[in-house]
Symmetry: C2
Subunit: 211 residues, 2 copies
């Protein structure tokens, strides 16, 4: 409740352990994420792990939560902007989104959360989703709303518009990568995808200020 670090968070040491654990997760999947392996990799004892995080599920939750807390500010919310700069911001968002979801960490965390989705609700999915939204969604939605109020966009519901933009950008790429099929798309393709997605989005939601 104080000015900063309102949540009890974790010790530096503990955060380091979580990072090591994440590293393991990224390169070996969940099956590689045994308590023994974590302890060995992080140079701590299993007993400490249990003392700090309760049990394995708590540890997983801690890993996810920690990553979720690393939020990148992203684009500035709103000045009055030109249609051009709005478009640029959206393209930036698209690039960021594509880059993020194709990152090793993102893929590993999503795989983890999806794997836990069936068993007793540890809420990993919820955490990931909230953080995902917080990471980029909310700000971009705000951006869309701003663009709408300034007449660049014709939007009924910013949430819907954001959702559409998301679909146009990501398509089925995320699932494909989660399934492990594709090598990472080159940044060239990534840029192109972002551009065309925004192009299409503007065609759908852009107010015809030019005409």
């Amino acid at each position: 409740m104080s000015t900063e670090s309102t949540q009890p968070e974790f010790t530096d040491r503990q955060r380091a352990v979580l990072d090591k654990a994440l590293e393991l997760l990224v390169e070996g999947g969940e099956k590689a994420l045994t308590t023994a392996a974590i302890a060995r990799a992080a140079g701590c004892s299993k007993e400490s792990l249990y003392k700090w995080f309760g049990d394995r599920d708590g540890l997983l939750a801690a890993i996810v939560t920690r990553q979720a807390s690393k939020v990148i500010p992203g684009a500035d919310p709103s000045a009055n902007m030109s249609k051009q700069s709005l478009r640029a911001a959206l393209e930036e968002f698209a690039r960021n989104l594509l880059e993020t979801i194709s990152g090793d960490v993102s893929l590993a965390l999503n795989r983890l959360a999806i794997g836990q989705a069936s068993k007793a609700d540890t809420g990993l999915g919820a955490i990931l989703q909230k953080s995902g939204r917080a990471r980029i969604g909310a700000q971009t939605t705000a951006l869309l709303e701003a663009g709408c109020k300034q007449g660049h966009l014709h939007c009924e519901d910013p949430q819907d518009a954001y959702s559409t933009l998301y679909g146009l950008v990501v398509r089925d790429q995320h699932l494909r990568m989660l399934l492990g099929s594709d090598a990472k798309a080159s940044p060239k393709d990534l840029n192109l995808t972002a551009k065309t997605a925004v192009e299409q989005f503007m065609k759908l939601y852009g107010a015809d200020t030019t005409r």
Copy 2:
């Protein structure tokens, strides 16, 4: 190699076992899918399981492959059709797609494949993806191509168009459901989503024959 049943497929009995196994998977996730549990549920012995499917991974692959083989014909490829009927076909596709990916079996299989994605490539992801495409993607792409050749659509690359349509329809719903967040959307919403998605798609790719 003979006239029929070109793929070795499986015995009726074995298929029944696979179905039971799938049932277990759907209601309990992968952790519930132990060889003992399958044997018990299907009323067969573990030894038979190993005789028929090799090992656990082979069994998982068999489960996925079996479901993949259940392809629904879907819409007829092409007569000459009106723009109206094309639109209707696309909406039908959208509804089917949404219904499919929000189905319990689809979710369970995708979770399974994603879970296996990190470990040694058993290729579940590839199978699922190919079957997914085969199930609806290819036909719809053909439909789009037909619509394009008949001048209802302005398309550069049918593959791209399909991809866009997919994105507009699914947005981030699939991932959200895989993460286990949402209750199933009502068929009302589903229908609406399909309609607006196709609406948007036509706005992007529809040739302005009306004008």
